[in-house]
């Protein structure tokens, strides 16, 4: 911002109930509510269990990745590598449970390893991002650009670019399973969101994330271990990307290194932005990110369900992002 805070007179915390304040503070919730109302009015069969399921399953992977992205952005960083890390995790899992990497003593071992190893690899690569950023002091956008470019290539090299098709219900539970009729991936998503929101609010780690994003120098001079906090944040982002990669391949019963997680970094960033997290760091809301992802998904669904081509939905998405960030700026003045 151009105006220096020192020249401004001390303003009192004015909480006036004008439209703008309400719009900027609760804009995301209002938009979500409006979208639901509009759909109830115009979209046929909107209020059905199936609609809910369709929209939820579309949004789960994005939300899980976007939660990690929220934390990264809260520190003032960015993670472009999430989509590529999803592709790597998605490529590794079938290689493991299909026994292509090493012989399996027992199928159950394969499935267990197929859950654990890809996620750990993605987390390790996230840690590597953090290492580049904190130790070599490379800007986040460039540091994660490295894996954005190379990561998908690595996944493609693993699989030689081939589609890996499989049918393995015990593994695919993560994407297709249901608990009491609720998709397992939705439960996973809620758990991740709640845990992250609680963590950000009530733990030292969470407050330190926000302090770093708010003013990194001050945080360091206050004894906050900036490098280690950032590394953990990128590690978490990688970890969550790994999980999202598994969900996507399980859902599709196939892993295609060319497509898994393609464009995910942008979807996740869009959800974070629409949700009301400050893109320069220091202020973040995980619940907002969930709402943001739901808004974007619901707009797309609304347009598709009413016969608008998918391509036009892209333009609508662009408009939503600009509008959301613009409103956020207005409130931050």
């Amino acid at each position: 911002m151009s105006d220096t805070a020192t020249t401004l007179p001390p303003t009192q915390g004015a909480s006036r109930f004008d439209l703008r304040t309400i719009l900027t503070r609760h804009g995301a919730w209002i938009a979500l509510a409006l979208l639901i109302l509009v759909n109830l009015a115009i979209t046929p069969n909107f209020a059905t269990w199936q609609t809910l399921n369709v929209n939820l399953t579309q949004v789960c992977a994005i939300v899980i990745v976007a939660v990690g992205m929220t934390l990264v952005i809260a520190t003032g960083g960015i993670d472009l590598s999430v989509g590529a890390l999803m592709a790597i995790a998605g490529a590794l899992a079938p290689l493991i449970f299909l026994g292509k990497l090493f012989p399996l003593p027992h199928p159950a071992v394969g499935i267990a390893l197929a859950f654990v190893v890809p996620v750990l690899v993605a987390a390790a690569l996230g840690w590597f991002n953090g290492w580049l950023i904190t130790r070599l002091r490379i800007q986040p956008i460039i540091a994660t650009l490295v894996l954005f470019i190379a990561g998908r290539g690595i996944a493609q090299v693993f699989t030689n670019g081939n589609l890996q098709v499989f049918n393995l219900p015990s593994f695919q539970f993560i994407g297709l399973g249901r608990v009491f009729g609720i998709p397992f991936q939705a439960i996973l998503m809620i758990v991740v969101v709640v845990a992250a929101a609680w963590m950000l609010r009530h733990t030292v780690f969470g407050r330190q994330i926000l302090a770093i994003g708010g003013n990194e120098k001050a945080a360091r001079l206050s004894g906050i271990p900036v490098a280690s906090v950032k590394q953990r944040v990128y590690l978490i982002s990688g970890f969550l990307s790994g999980i999202a990669g598994l969900i996507v391949i399980a859902r599709n019963s196939a892993a295609d290194a060319n497509l898994v997680g393609l464009g995910m970094e942008l979807d996740a960033i869009a959800a974070v932005a629409v949700g009301g997290t400050l893109l320069t760091g220091g202020r973040a809301t995980v619940i907002g990110t969930l709402v943001g992802a739901l808004i974007i998904q619901l707009v797309r669904y609304t347009l598709l369900a009413n016969g608008v081509p998918d391509a036009a939905a892209l333009v609508a998405k662009a408009a939503i992002i600009v509008l959301a960030v613009w409103l956020q700026r207005q409130s931050h003045r």
Partner: protein, 507 residues
């Protein structure tokens, strides 16, 4: 003769809060006009309205007999108003020439004529007796030169009015003299100058008239010579200045105590060559020196923010045990940086969170913050330090500079430190809050806290400190104690080193 500039009935609100209420400012042709007031009095807002950075709410601005409402600094510049801002606002990566000539480049055949621009830049700097390679990036030169470049730039615009917003804050005395010489030159050639400063000596040295602002209003306009210093300060504060300064130095009895901090032969890079000093518990030690003498660099090394090349730092009996701020904090040190905005506050966080930032890990069990406990502590400090805020959850960016500084002090005090390092604790703070903060520091030292204080305001260090170490060119030039703690000997030591100080101490 009509005045060059007259601003009448200027109103301005930020988010509904009035910053200016029918403020006035009249500047005659060829005069040096002082504009003073406490922080938040509206000086900067006034200037920013004049230069088109903000839009005024109401009122009238006449410049050169024409009503004007500039919509950008660029337009103001074209009309003949050049501004030098407090923070040096230049482009560090670009050459000196570009920094001076950007915005009114010389062209030949439609393309930039570099050689003509280099010549002009050299000529402008020559007026300050500065001879440097103008092709090199600005960032390779020291701050004072950068400040001179900023001034050269403003003058190069053939301005009718030059606004200087605290131009001397990064200059040493010799450089200030050069600047004053330039201001007199400008005046002689019919250019008007608006001079904003907190330093009273400077105002009397160069200004003809003064406009005093308070709470967004113009409260007094008078020839400089008609006002005494006390009048000036009284008018600025709107109250009689009482017991602000003048308290004795309590030294002597504690001399036998083991120092809590002992720094020996510290060296780091080119700025710190051989620095030694010590702080005993319950003592306020001043670290004096001109800009670039290595004060800030030395204390940053002590705090573990930067890594020294050699030397020993013994804190609380342990030698060289600190390699990061977190080590220093754990050992019992606190450090308030000179740049509150860049290195102190976290603007978007609440008073409470800013205050407990360093304490947070101790307030937590298994990583979960104990909010109730944190609130208790914050409430007690808000009361104890008299922090004026609407409550612990108010965002710190909304507080005044003085109150922000108090929160930052409390950030360390709540840790029960053994040593507090304060780098320019009163910079950019109004006179009233300044006195409060200095009083607080004295009180804390009285309770046994060791305080190491850097201040560029000599009288402040002299008043507060019982012992002063004077740094010069990265070396400890003198240690002054007892009666030697006076402005004269500190200045001599700054200028001449240890021998000079001893001479005056002997006199």
């Amino acid at each position: 003769m009509a005045p060059l500039l007259s601003m009448h009935g200027i109103d301005k609100r930020f988010a509904g809060i009035p910053a200016l209420r029918s403020a006035e400012l009249v500047v005659e042709k060829g005069e040096v006009h002082a504009l003073i007031g406490q922080n938040g009095a509206g000086k900067s807002t006034m200037i920013k309205i004049l230069t088109g950075y903000y839009r005024k709410g109401a009122g009238e601005v006449l410049f050169d007999d024409r009503p004007v409402a500039f919509s950008s600094p660029q337009e103001a510049q074209r009309a003949g108003i050049s501004t030098i801002y407090q923070e040096i606002n230049l482009v560090p990566y670009r050459s000196v020439t570009e920094n001076i000539c950007l915005g009114r480049e010389k062209r030949r055949f439609g393309l930039l004529d570099w050689s003509a621009m280099h010549t002009e830049a050299r000529a402008l700097l020559a007026r300050f007796n500065i001879d440097i390679d103008v092709r090199r990036p600005l960032m390779v030169y020291p701050t004072a030169i950068q400040q001179m470049v900023a001034i050269a730039r403003a003058i190069g615009f053939e301005a009718k009015l030059v606004i200087m917003d605290e131009p001397t804050s990064s200059l040493d005395e010799r450089e200030v003299e050069v600047l004053f010489e330039v201001i007199r030159q400008l005046k002689a050639s019919g250019v008007s100058v608006i001079f904003v400063s907190h330093k009273l000596d400077e105002l009397y040295a160069v200004c003809d008239r003064v406009t005093i602002m308070r709470d967004g209003r113009t409260v007094q306009v008078a020839p400089m010579a008609d006002l005494s210093r006390l009048d000036l300060v009284t008018s600025m504060l709107g109250r009689e200045l009482s017991q602000v300064l003048h308290e004795g130095h309590d030294t002597g009895e504690d001399d036998t105590r083991e120092p809590v901090l002992q720094v020996r032969n510290l060296a780091m890079g080119r700025k710190v060559r051989d620095v030694s000093f010590e702080v005993r518990p319950g003592e306020i030690v001043g670290l004096a020196g001109l800009l670039g003498a290595g004060r800030t660099e030395s204390v940053r090394a002590v705090f573990g923010a930067d890594r020294p090349d050699s030397g020993t730092i013994a804190f609380d009996g342990r030698e060289n045990a600190i390699s990061a701020p977190s080590d220093a904090i754990r050992a019992g040190m606190g450090f308030c940086s000179e740049d509150r905005k860049l290195e102190g506050i976290i603007p978007d966080m609440s008073v409470r969170e800013n205050l407990t930032l360093a304490l947070m890990p101790q307030l937590a069990r298994r990583g979960i913050v104990n909010e109730a406990r944190s609130r208790e502590i914050v409430d007690s400090f808000i009361k104890r330090l008299g922090i004026r805020c609407s409550g612990p959850e108010q965002r710190i960016r909304e507080l005044s500079g003085g109150n922000q500084q108090k929160v930052l002090l409390a950030r360390w005090l709540c840790m029960n430190p053994k040593l507090l390092i304060l780098d320019e604790p009163t910079r950019g703070i109004d006179v009233g809050a300044k006195a409060e903060i200095l009083g607080l520091i004295r009180e804390l030292a009285g309770q046994g806290l060791g305080v190491l204080m850097i201040s560029s305001e000599l009288e402040e260090v002299v008043e507060a400190a019982s012992r002063i170490f004077v740094l010069r060119d990265g070396r400890t030039a003198a240690e002054l104690e007892g009666d030697a703690v006076n402005e004269q000997s500190v200045m001599t030591a700054m200028a001449h080193g240890h021998d000079g100080a001893r001479e005056t101490a002997d006199v």
